[in-house]
């Protein structure tokens, strides 16, 4: 579809297409302590939660430790000697201490730094110093690291903090699994990672990354001219698809975008090429295969910039001409979240590629900082209590759908009911 064939006037019909109400939506879930606690219990302790890519654990004995913010859980995620990915509570069976303090590494065994109780990377207790001074009640076979339910889908590793997950990861992903099936994620072993503690509810932050309505204004100097144009001055969405409890939206890209003459450094990075994009989209076979996937630019639009595949509750998998990147928004309390963004890129082979990457990384950092400032203003405003509802337009359909799903999960007695 070309830009001329796509109308950006009148009112769109994404919201009705999702089967959602068009009424204002409540703001209380964005500021209420009670609602935060309800989310923790009904969502973060029941849903499958994305924690890392399998590439972070390339070989048996690799491990990573992830903080599951808000829940108090430190998760030790291992590639076992048998090659399986398995998560454990990072807590010693002796007196509960944290066992692994490193953020990542390679180890066949883990020794608790407190009294050297030692575990295999399958979680079995294999060593107890001065064992003979313990009592017959010590049953080593029952003193392994406590397992966290773990499941993997196309390199995405999920955990579930329920003692017995009510549904499998496949059932949980539902239509999103089929929609995204078979994407060849490029550069998945080479992420550029930023983290930040944001002074906003996790939904305020997540919402800011699924609507482009704010981009022409808030990010006018960094990415404004990429996402809007004279034909689509308010950066309206070009596509939106409900996927059960998950969803995808596609954003407009200005097909006329060229390097602003004042951006001399970007022009320098493009020296000797007619490449227009900072993301340095290449035309290798792998890139073409990636871009030909039906979930990537599902509209087949020439005025496309990126897709946001929102996996409930807190993961965005974004796909664009140059590859993919992810956002995670972990609730810390009702007005704080821990944010992590990972831009996956192929390792540069030429100085031009590396230079454009550095420019891109620098700009991304600025976008994160702009959001860091702006999201606090949003939260502070919500916290005044002056407004009880928010007015959402059609291009903000993902915000409406996400909140509707979150409310549904907090009310559903079972996960099956939440997913129905």
């Amino acid at each position: 579809m070309t830009s001329a064939e796509h109308s950006f006037t009148g009112r769109g019909n994404f919201t009705e297409g999702f089967g959602l109400t068009t009424e204002p939506m409540p703001l209380e879930p964005y500021r209420s302590r009670d609602f935060f606690e309800l989310e923790q219990k009904m969502i973060f302790r029941r849903a499958w939660l994305y924690v890392c890519r399998a590439e972070e654990l390339p070989e048996p004995s690799n491990f990573v430790v992830k903080t599951i913010h808000g829940t108090g859980v430190s998760a030790l995620i291992t590639r076992t000697s048998g090659g399986r990915v398995q998560a454990f509570y990072n807590s010693c069976a002796h007196r509960g201490s944290i066992v692994v303090k490193e953020e990542s590494g390679k180890a066949a065994k883990f020794a608790c730094p407190y009294h050297r109780w030692t575990y295999s990377n399958e979680g079995d207790l294999v060593g107890v110093p001065d064992e003979e001074n313990f009592f017959p009640s010590l049953d080593k076979s029952k003193c392994g690291l406590k397992k966290i339910a773990t499941s993997e889908w196309e390199g995405w590793v999920f955990i579930n903090l329920a003692p017995e997950p009510e549904v499998t990861l496949d059932e949980y992903l539902g239509p999103a699994k089929e929609f995204l099936s078979g994407i060849r994620y490029r550069g998945a072993d080479n992420p550029v990672v930023f983290t930040a503690v944001l002074n906003s509810n996790w939904k305020v932050a997540s919402d800011a990354f699924v609507e482009s309505y704010h981009i022409p204004h808030i990010h006018k100097d960094t990415i404004g001219t990429t996402f809007a144009s004279r034909a689509n001055p308010f950066a309206r969405l070009i596509g939106a698809y409900p996927l059960g409890t998950h969803r995808t939206v596609s954003m407009y890209g200005n097909p006329e975008y060229t390097i602003d003459p004042k951006n001399r450094v970007e022009a320098l990075g493009s020296m000797g090429k007619d490449d227009k994009s900072v993301i340095a989209a290449d035309v290798s076979e792998e890139t073409l295969e990636f871009l030909s996937h039906p979930a990537i630019n599902p509209e087949g639009a020439d005025h496309w910039s990126m897709d946001i595949h929102q996996i409930f509750p807190h993961l965005h998998i974004d796909t664009g001409p140059g590859g993919f990147w992810t956002h995670q928004f972990w609730p810390v309390d009702e007005k704080t979240c821990f944010y992590e963004v990972r831009f996956y890129m192929m390792e540069a082979q030429t100085i031009q590629e590396r230079f454009l990457q550095e420019l891109y990384i620098g700009r991304v950092g600025e976008v994160v900082l702009e959001d860091l400032a702006n999201l606090k203003f949003t939260q502070d405003g919500i916290d005044t209590g002056g407004q009880d509802t928010m007015q959402l337009q059609d291009s903000e359909v993902a915000i409406r759908h996400a909140l509707a799903q979150i409310i549904k999960w907090t009310q559903a007695q079972t996960v099956k009911e939440a997913l129905a």
Binding site: P191, K262, R264, A348, I361, R363, E366, A373
Partner: protein, 119 residues
């Protein structure tokens, strides 16, 4: 050139005028170079930007003659200096000041990992 000056040379021959910028700008990692930009005065950023962009194409060409992941020491230093230009451009071309307006500094943003080389 005297022997002493030769020993102190950090950049490939022909880039002598950039030597004064090496100590501050040629940080080892993206995070180092970002901090350098955030903590510099605008005049210093502008001076580095002007000097580096004037030699940008020459630097790019020279670096391109070597394998990117196995650079001789002086070319590696020039590469780190060139990469710092990406940060300087954020101040000069985007903000017109060292850091984004309205954003507190220091702040909670942390660059955990960048990309090789010199990430």
């Amino acid at each position: 050139m005297t022997a002493t000056a030769e020993m102190a040379r950090q950049l490939p021959e022909g880039f002598e005028e950039l030597e004064p910028f090496v100590a501050y700008w040629a940080g080892e990692s993206t995070a180092d170079r970002m901090a350098a930009r955030c903590e510099a005065d605008m005049d210093d950023i502008q001076a580095f930007y002007d000097a580096m962009i004037a030699r940008g194409e020459d630097a790019m060409r020279l670096i391109g003659e070597h394998p990117l992941h196995d650079l001789p020491a002086d070319v590696a230093t020039l590469t780190r200096l060139l990469l710092a230009l990406a940060q300087a451009s954020i101040a000069v071309e985007l903000h017109g000041q060292p850091r984004a307006p309205d954003v507190p500094y220091p702040n909670s943003m942390r660059m955990v990992r960048s990309t090789a080389p010199f990430g």
